[in-house]
């Protein structure tokens, strides 16, 4: 177990390094630099700025400096766009916002999805099953950027119940719409995965044994069927994390929640190298950590898997 975690962390380091190198190259390959704007700066001024940010050095030198600063000082450098702010500050400001609605999205989609899926499986071929199946097929194919405007239209413009944007320090009324928009298709996916895996487990021999043992129906579901049926849902948690991360870009732009997604988009548009790279590394780390977590949950659910 401990060895497994250590080995996974050891693999994570070269993965992150590769991520840094590739995104660094991509940023450099793109034409222009952070300081090219509408009006061209005088040559001397440009040279001055470039020297101040260390951009006059050869590219490999820049890359090495960047990596060593992260490793030695945990310093992601200054933002090239906002002169008085460091990348660390930008992330520290935006991340809690994204983390808050991202976590809620995880909780809402898994809990609701599992609940709907189990219900549909237990009442297979009843109206409950058909209704949930119909709704989930519809919900699964609608992308975030369609759901978000629709939600604002209904709950902000027509009903006037919830604010259509802003964060307001994470007030619940500001959190609901981003979470609902982001969870919409995830609930549907989880419910469908859960339904089919639950049906499979319910048809297995040991569930028949459990019924012969005289165990009440709800206990068969909770004690015997739920855990093995959850395995495919746990597998889906990793792609879900990626979905939440990319979805956060749309959510932050649409709802002006001020999360890390908007900082990411702006940094890319402004060629703010250091900020874009910092956020890329953050997302990469999150993905690696999420996958590790999924493996650990797997081992907990299925004792046959030895780490």
């Amino acid at each position: 177990m401990i060895r497994f975690i250590l080995r996974r962390l050891a693999i994570a380091i070269p993965t992150l390094l590769a991520l840094i190198v590739v995104s660094f190259i991509l940023m450099k390959v793109a034409p222009g630099n952070p300081f090219t704007g509408e009006k061209t700066l005088p040559k001397e001024v440009m040279a001055n700025i470039m020297a101040r940010y260390g951009l006059d050095k050869p590219e490999w030198q820049q890359l090495l400096d960047y990596i060593s600063n992260i490793v030695l000082h945990f310093d992601f450098g200054p933002s090239f766009k906002y002169k008085d702010r460091s990348v660390t500050e930008i992330i520290a400001q935006g991340f809690p916002v994204t983390f808050t609605y991202g976590m809620w999205t995880f909780v809402v989609s898994t809990v609701l999805g599992v609940f709907v899926g189990v219900l549909a499986a237990v009442r297979q071929n009843s109206w409950v099953d058909y209704l949930s199946l119909g709704i989930t097929i519809g919900a699964q194919v609608v992308p975030v950027y369609v759901v978000a405007p629709l939600l604002v239209l209904i709950f902000t413009l027509w009903l006037g119940w919830l604010p259509g944007g802003g964060w307001n320090g994470g007030h619940w009324s500001n959190v609901i719409l981003p979470v609902v928009a982001l969870s919409f298709s995830l609930v549907a996916s989880v419910a469908r995965i859960m339904r089919s895996s639950m049906l499979e487990v319910l048809g297995s021999n040991y569930i028949r044994t459990a019924r012969a043992k005289g165990i009440p129906g709800y206990k068969i579901i909770l004690r015997h069927a739920l855990r093995p049926a959850l395995l495919p849902v746990v597998t889906y948690l990793a792609p879900m994390l990626v979905y939440v991360i990319t979805g956060s870009v749309i959510i932050d732009m649409y709802f002006s929640t001020g999360g890390i997604g908007s900082a990411f988009v702006n940094s890319a548009l402004n060629r703010d190298y250091s900020t874009a790279m910092g956020i890329t590394i953050l997302y990469g780390t999150l993905t690696i950590a999420g996958n590790l977590l999924v493996d650990l949950i797997y081992a907990w659910i299925d004792p046959k898997i030895r780490l």
Partner: protein, 332 residues
């Protein structure tokens, strides 16, 4: 409830069970008649063997007795109470008395529970009055009864062999002290050497605990070895029901004869001299069953009336029951 002298433990009356089989996208689902009008009784402390080819409804019958499958028609009277009419809590409590052992031992155990949890679970659900220590003691006692070491309580099913897994299945069926156990092909998934061990174990437990068994198998030698009485099924119907030795030595129904004639003889010299009149043709589909006697399409004695009237189960003196129009003419 106490068992009265001469009273059957279980009485099955006119049991019928069918399944709907979808014929494809544009075809109406059709009815597969798995069991038709099955009636028999089980006496206390006997072993009733049930034999038949695959697909004849053996397992469906076993599960219908336990109400794991719900029959459409008929009654399953357990000590005076019709189980088909009971449901919910009342039915659940009956599982203390009537238990079942399944065919595929390993797949029938939850792979995520330890052996101790698996065996103890019926106690939790059916005898909640026991405390943890009593439960553990009972698990250890039952494991010893099926010749499993109680040290193995914390292992998972995949660490066991097929024979050991079936012992776990037996222990789990035994632990609530049932009176009747339905053994649904309990040894057919096991090696021949292990089969004998499990059969001997069942015989030993039956003797010691005063169990009554319904033993379902397609293996005629196994059924003969364990059964007091034997019931032969063909396409979901009873064709013959008689005392074990009587049935083997003097089979009355043509189907029973054909089945017995197909049992391999383990001596090549004797086998060579045998007149091999096996069954010709395939077993008919249970969806499109022959009219009249279901066996007439393969029966060497079939005559015209066999296609018209279904033969009732008739009592044959000094034998048992046979469902054949011509049993008198065919003789022994």
């Amino acid at each position: 409830m106490t068992i009265r002298e001469g009273e059957p433990l279980l009485r099955v009356e006119g049991l019928s069970k069918s399944f709907m089989v979808s014929g494809g996208m544009f075809r109406a689902p059709r009815e597969l008649k798995a069991l038709q009008d099955i009636s028999f009784t089980v006496r206390p402390n006997e072993t009733l063997g049930i034999v038949g080819e695959s697909g004849c409804g053996k397992s469906t019958l076993g599960r219908s007795i336990l109400q794991l499958l719900r029959p459409e028609l008929g009654r399953v009277v357990w000590l005076g109470q019709d189980l088909v009419a009971t449901r919910g809590e009342v039915l659940r409590k009956k599982r203390k008395d009537v238990q079942i052992i399944f065919q595929d031992p390993l797949a029938s155990l939850n792979p995520r529970m330890t052996v101790g949890e698996i065996i103890a679970e019926p106690l939790r659900s059916l005898m909640p009055e026991l405390n943890g220590a009593e439960r553990r003691a009972k698990v250890a006692e039952t494991m010893k009864a099926v010749h499993l070491s109680p040290d193995m309580v914390n292992r998972y099913p995949h660490e066991f062999s097929g024979g050991q897994a079936q012992r776990i299945g037996i222990a789990r069926a035994l632990i609530t002290g049932p009176k009747l156990i339905v053994c649904d092909e309990p040894v057919s998934a096991l090696d021949v050497s292990i089969q004998a061990q499990i059969l001997n174990l069942l015989a030993e437990l039956k003797e010691r605990m005063g169990l009554t068994l319904i033993f379902i198998s397609h293996n005629l030698s196994v059924v003969r070895h364990v059964s007091d009485r034997i019931m032969v099924l063909y396409l979901g119907r009873v064709v013959e029901l008689a005392d074990g030795e009587q049935l083997y030595l003097h089979p009355r129904h043509p189907y029973t004869r054909a089945l017995l004639a197909s049992v391999p003889i383990p001596d090549p010299r004797r086998a060579r001299g045998r007149d091999l009149k096996g069954l010709s043709g395939e077993i008919p589909s249970p969806i499109d069953q022959p009219s009249g006697c279901a066996f007439r399409t393969r029966c060497p004695y079939a005559v015209a009336p066999c296609a018209e009237v279904r033969p009732p189960l008739e009592a044959v003196p000094n034998h048992g029951d046979v469902a054949c129009h011509r049993w008198r003419e065919i003789g022994e």
